[in-house]
């Protein structure tokens, strides 16, 4: 019986999986934007797709939303293939980078747009849903405003409300924070995380900022040039990157004799213990950053190394001889293939 189901093309959904991409590839004339990408989102998860500009994350998002068709591979929502389903029939909602609020409609009408199109609810029901979601994003009182009268943060919340009110299986967010002022970004980031936890809907979040992704995600994936390089929890990716690219993308790395160590794991001075490695070095540069001091050193074998220390009374001098040490367990794992 199971084999018959497989033949029909149904996969047995693991109850927890809400979205699956399987070997998805997207080719444009001239280049391959997405190359054999596969990953899985679990229900209620905050998942981020990170990578430098042009790595294919936006194209991937658009395929999940339905605006692009994969050249090959398949996309499953709750176990059902949505490859041939147009965006207006997928239960997936998007928050656009530019918010894409309808300028000729009030906040209420914007939020109600999707509900009104589906004809499943009466006016009263729609009104109640809109009120409720506006309360969730803390926009009560702004119902009859127009988008041009709102601030950037408020516009984003309208976009969120508009997408959330449809109770999608997955909520897609396309670089939602990049249009905001830097000061506001961290706060909104936190608000988004809390909102997701409160509402419980699965979020698929796209950004090029790795710090942002690590701060909010339960799980994340790094993409580069169309390929998915590594996926896992932020901690896993940071501590155990599978490639130099991921290692360097998520933070600073010092390469010392074929071994990678992060600056925060380096110490000045030797400890002599068995689980410590030490090297002789000379201080080259000193960069004061307020809460930390970056000490640029050159080791005896020529390698350069940046150590992060807390500024202290001991005045370091350029040219001073020091020992640079780290715990063996803080070393980054060796990679199979150089990337």
């Amino acid at each position: 019986m199971w084999s018959k189901l497989f033949a029909v093309g149904l996969t047995i959904p693991k109850v927890n999986e809400v979205l699956e991409l399987r070997a998805v590839t997207k080719e444009f004339p001239g280049h391959r934007a997405v190359d054999d990408v596969s990953f899985v989102l679990e229900r209620g998860e905050f998942f981020s797709l990170v990578g430098p500009s042009g790595c294919g994350k936006t194209t991937t998002l658009r395929m999940v939303a339905g605006f692009e068709d994969p050249t090959s591979g398949d996309i499953f929502l709750d176990g059902l293939s949505v490859r041939d389903v147009p965006p207006y029939r997928r239960n997936v909602s998007t928050v656009f980078q530019s918010y894409a609020l309808f300028p000729h409609l009030t906040v209420t009408d914007n939020v109600a747009f999707g509900l009104a199109r589906s004809r499943k609810w009466t006016k009263a029901e729609i009104g109640a849903k809109v009120d409720r979601v506006l309360g969730t994003v803390q926009l009560t009182g702004k119902e009859s405003r127009y988008p041009r009268e709102l601030s950037g943060g408020e516009k984003q919340r309208v976009a969120l409300a508009r997408a959330l009110v449809l109770e999608p299986q997955v909520l897609l967010l396309d670089e939602p924070l990049s249009a905001l002022d830097p000061q506001v970004r961290k706060q909104i980031r936190q608000d988004l995380k809390e909102l997701q936890r409160k509402v419980g809907i699965t979020f698929l979040f796209i950004t090029h900022d790795q710090e942002e992704a690590m701060a909010v995600s339960d799980c994340m994936a790094v993409m580069r040039a169309g390929k998915l390089i590594q996926a896992g929890t932020p901690e896993t990716l940071y501590r155990q990157p599978n490639s130099a690219f991921v290692a360097e993308f998520l933070g600073e790395v010092n390469w010392i004799g074929g071994v990678g160590v992060r600056p925060e794991n380096l110490r000045l001075g030797s400890d002599g213990r068995a689980d410590w490695v030490s090297r002789e070095a000379r201080v080259e540069t000193l960069t004061f950053l307020g809460n930390r001091l970056l000490v640029g050193t050159q080791l005896s074998d020529g390698a350069h190394c940046r150590v992060e220390v807390v500024p202290s009374e001991n005045q370091l001098q350029v040219g001073q001889a020091v020992w640079v040490g780290w715990k063996k367990c803080d070393e980054l794992p060796r990679f199979e293939v150089g990337l």
Binding site: P87, S93, L166
Partner: protein, 239 residues
């Protein structure tokens, strides 16, 4: 700079004949002129209604997909001299006369006007669409709107200023046309430009002066009003 102001001023004609209003009265009393004006108005309105509707839809379609046949024909119609357009339509109408006894009249003029004014509508609406934020349509689709619903509820309302501008252009072009109209109009469907031409051909006359001033004033007022409306609605639709 000077040229800009000059071209604006030169279109105003002073009536030098002792600043009398007599000629204006004569203009108003001329029933032939009234008939011509009425014909022109009817033709222009009908043309605008048809051409604006068809042109807007065509522009939307061209914005989304390529259609080389339509694009070429529109571009060619823009570049074809009016004489040729008029003459070719005359031939067509002659053929229709032989087939279904269609006589030349206001209906043939309207058909002719729609043919050559379509491209103006498409140009205006298409240029507005090019400034349109595509994300808005994507958002509508994403939220559950079908392509038609997206067009009707999102794109079209935001396109209204552009459509009105196109309609105004279409109306002006149709109202003012002489060459094509003269070739395809029947005997009993004289338009205002045809009458003006006949009068101008005979030479300058005070009556024509008065008429010209009137028309310029009315058209000028229309343009200003249209501009005022456009500014107000554009401001409302900025996100």
């Amino acid at each position: 700079m000077v040229l800009g102001v000059f071209s604006f001023n030169a279109s105003r004609i002073a009536n030098w004949n002792g600043f009398t209003l007599d000629w204006y009265l004569q203009v108003f009393g001329d029933s032939l002129l009234w008939e011509g004006t009425l014909n022109s108005l009817i033709i222009a309105t009908a043309t605008t209604a048809i051409a604006t509707a068809l042109g807007t839809l065509a522009a939307y379609s061209l914005w989304k997909t390529k259609a080389p046949v339509l694009t070429t024909s529109l571009y060619l119609s823009l570049v074809t001299p009016e004489v040729l357009t008029g003459v070719s339509l005359l031939l067509l109408f002659q053929l229709l006369f032989r087939l279904i006894h269609l006589r030349l009249g206001m209906h043939t003029v309207i058909l002719a006007h729609v043919s050559f004014s379509l491209v103006y509508v498409v140009l205006v609406v298409l240029s507005r669409l090019r400034q349109f934020d595509r994300d808005l349509e994507d958002a509508a689709l994403d939220l559950g709107g079908t392509p038609w619903q997206t067009f009707w509820h999102v794109t079209l309302p935001l396109l209204v200023p552009g459509i009105l501008a196109a309609a105004l252009l279409c109306f002006t072009v149709s109202f003012d046309d002489y060459v094509i109209t003269s070739l395809v109009a029947g005997i009993d469907s004289q338009t205002l430009p045809m009458l003006i031409y006949a009068m101008a051909r005979k030479g300058v006359s005070p009556e024509v002066n008065a008429l010209s001033v009137l028309i310029t004033v009315v058209l000028g007022a229309l343009i200003l009003a249209a501009d005022r409306i456009e500014q107000r609605s554009s401001a409302k639709l900025k996100a």
